[in-house]
Amino acid sequence: MLLKPKKPVSSSKLVVWITLIGFIVLVLLPTFYLISYVFLEWDEVRFEVFENPIIGDENWKQMLKVLFFSFRLSFSTVIFDLIFGIPLAYILARKNFPGKSLLEDIVTLPLVMPTSGFGFATLITWTTVAGLGGVLGLNSGLIPLDAFIPLVNVPFIVFIVHVTLTFPYIVRTLATKFRSIDITYEVASRTLGANPLTTFRKILFPLSIPGIFSGSVLAFARSLGETGATIIVAGVSSTASIAIVRWTSEFKLATASFMGSLLVIIAWIIILPVELYLGQGKRSLNVPFVVPISLTNRILKFENYVSKKLSRLKDLVPLFIVAVTVIVPILAILNSVILYWSADPYTGKIEGGVWNQLFGPSQYFNILLRATLTSIIVALVSTFIALCISIPLVFIIERKWYGPPIRSILKIPLIIPTSSLGLSVLLLWVSQGFNLIGSGIWLIILTHIVFAVPVIVESMIAAYEGSDISMYEDSARTLGATAYNAIETVSLPLIKGGIITGFILAFTRSLGETGATFIVMGRDITVPALVVNMVEALAIPAALFTSTYLIILSMFLLVIIRITTRGP
């Protein structure tokens, strides 16, 4: 036997460097450029926002109003999500019943759903006679478009859309957290005499605080950045994300980027303490103050009462919410497409039918085909490039000392509002920064890479940490495999499921992304952006068809996720 001393591993160093450079240029730079742009163009910002010769600081007042509205909306969304998401996550984590995996799929659906199409479906469901209103025999929508929720003062329909789109983040994160907590703690608590609700409050809840926080952060960020569905249902009210889109389309880039920076910074000020707290690796939260005995007794009595009387209700209400927010809109939009297929069912005009709009004079079908092609190319190319960066990046994150900071930096693209992201990419690559490429398909791809990388990395890391990769790799090494061999024959096959899931999540997200795409797309329109255009052009039947088409496409992809992740 001949023992070779270790060769200088120049090739692996090269891979690390290329990966890190790709990561910094393609993912990090666009997210940070926005803020630096505000400083570069400060004079223009001041002129537009604070000291406009005609309207003074009217834009600034407008911004504050919009920001305040956005945060109010996101906070109330997260609180609502938590109240109903916790019981649902508990059911998914702890109960076994027929149809459980179907329920899980339905809960996940909004994650892969194209937001603009889904927003449109929700709009149809609640505010038109083709939706719930018609089913209930009313001659109008169930609720008027301008109905507001009292107290928080946000439009009902916007709230519903945000709840639907953020609900999966809370439920999935919490269900995973609950599953990771050994059930014996709960069993012990029950045998020690606590009712289910008290057990939850004293045992499961404190142990799952980190999960509750990280789920809330994701949901909050998602709501804050949501553009595609909101732009369709918002009507006259405007969130911060939509305001950025509007300003960008009016070419007030400095104003838009100032707004985007404000949004990112405020979001970080809210999220950072939570992230820091989670980063300390605390496993539970102790209540730092003493609750008086009399109050404790009253709480216990209440919990005893509620546990007995209302246990059914706690199971049924979340299910009802999922049904109403996810399933009903899909059915409603399908129903509408059928109703509108040949002609407008109310006026009888064939110009108001789906068929006529697609194949008639406006030729929407051709545009749709083109948009589908653009969407698929964008999704494929961006996901593929993201995959090339993500796979080595996961190994860097897991093995190098600088891995954990990279992982936390990767959260930034996830929480940056999509419209700010689009603006940032536009500024960096096109007008003010590198000036390398124009708006269009390549810019869309660059934008989608930014959020595809964290999505793929997160699901790969989940798979990596779920199986004991380092043990298998060490084992392969002592069996004679080189480091490269071990990765190829052992690690990659073992995290294959995570790679495929990440790929499909990123692919569907790219397919459905609206907010950022809308800003950077130029003339290369994608399908979700087409829905927005159709709604704005009041080509409602065509929008109905396109939304349905998108939703069916993403449901199909979800089925593929199911099949691929089921494997051995």
Partner: protein, 368 residues
């Protein structure tokens, strides 16, 4: 020339010194057990030999060659994990033929070697099974077969029976030893189970707090433990604290609580020194009359524990200290009832004498 030679190995994790100046030589074909309590540094040492962990100081030689900078795949060692680490996405055949196939042997050779080895571990029929479909014992055999097929001459076993249930463990010990001996492999086997180490090893290395406490064959380790810690950790014993009263030709006279005295046949160095005398439970007797030439103490039986083939008695001496005695339950064995007055007796030649540990006796025997 020893096959493996470790010279002054030191490894630190932050402020903790996991291994402190380890020196060890392993001969070709030898079966070594590294025995120690949890946290002694056993696994760290094994990982350093395999090249899975870099060391801070010292040298590792394999076949006379310094391998500090040789990566694990080129060290001619195979590391077997406690959980066996069978690749879950490969079946038995693919697992066993892992090394031959990544080394690009030709197909005939791969097939021949793999089927030979599977035959040897009696798993030829399960060649298409996936690891999770196999029992723990079978998984262990697959892991062994995979290691043997890799062609490595040095087998590093990290708690190889840790993931198996107790009954199976005992049965598999001798099988494992026979198998690796028949293949003429050199084995380093890490365990915290003293019985396992004594049963399987040619030589036992006792590791404690990152240091080697004793190296010797199983018999030496058991009958001539070099420290109180080993006496307690391997086999267990009675401990009596006392002072050396007199040293003469017949050994030493030790005085312990309430001026009680006992004889130890080994001469101790200093009169007046504080010492600990140990005597194994099974080296003591319970009699109705004193035994001539032995240490005899009157006692009464406090309690007894039935262990199947033997009985352990807890006795209280007249000066109030409690001791244990173990007797094999042979045909003519007399069972003593609780509360009876008896004589606790042991020969001076069965006693070992240690100077009193600086950190106290409890520290030495409770750190296990």
């Amino acid at each position: 020339m020893p096959l493996i030679k470790l010279v002054n190995i030191t490894k630190r994790f932050g402020k903790i010194t996991a291994l402190n100046d380890i020196n060890l030589s392993v001969e070709n074909g030898e079966y070594i057990c590294i025995l120690g309590p949890t946290g002694a540094g056993k696994t760290t040492l094994l990982r350093i030999i395999a090249g899975l962990l870099e060391l801070d100081e010292g040298e590792v030689y394999i076949e006379g060659q310094l391998v500090n900078d040789v990566p694990p795949e080129d060290r001619n060692t195979v590391y077997m994990f406690q959980q066996f680490a069978l690749f879950p996405h490969m079946d038995v055949w693919q697992n066993v033929s892992y090394t031959p196939s990544i080394k690009d042997w030709d197909n005939d050779k791969i097939n021949y070697v793999t089927s030979e080895i599977l035959e040897m571990v009696r798993l030829a029929e399960r060649r298409d099974a996936y690891p999770k479909e196999l029992s723990g014992g079978m998984q262990q055999r697959v892991a062994l077969a995979r290691g043997i097929a890799s062609g490595a001459r040095i087998l590093l076993l990290d708690e190889p029976f840790g993931a198996l249930d107790a009954r199976l463990r005992v049965n598999l010990r001798s099988q494992l030893r026979a198998l690796v001996k028949s293949q003429k492999l050199t084995t380093i086997h890490v365990t915290h189970d003293q019985e396992e180490a004594l049963m399987t090893a040619d030589r036992v290395v006792v590791l404690r707090n990152g240091r080697i406490e004793q190296i010797g064959d199983p018999n030496q380790i058991y009958s001539k433990p070099r420290s109180i810690f080993i006496a307690n950790f391997v086999g267990g014993a009675n401990f009596i604290e006392g002072n050396v009263k007199k040293v003469d030709d017949e050994g030493s006279l030790i005085e312990f609580r309430d001026d009680f005295q006992l004889r130890v046949s080994t001469p101790s160095t200093n009169v007046g020194e504080k010492v600990v005398v140990t005597v194994r439970h099974e080296d003591t007797l319970i009699r109705t009359h004193p035994v001539i030439g032995s240490n005899n103490f009157s006692c009464h039986i406090e309690s007894r524990i039935f262990i199947g083939d033997s009985m352990v008695y807890v006795l209280k001496l007249e000066n109030g200290i409690t001791k244990s005695s173990k007797g094999l339950l042979s045909d003519n064995y007399v069972i003593h009832n609780i509360g009876k007055q008896r004589i606790f007796s042991f020969q001076p030649g069965k006693c070992l004498i240690f100077s009193y540990p600086q950190t106290g006796l409890l520290q030495e025997i409770e750190a296990v």
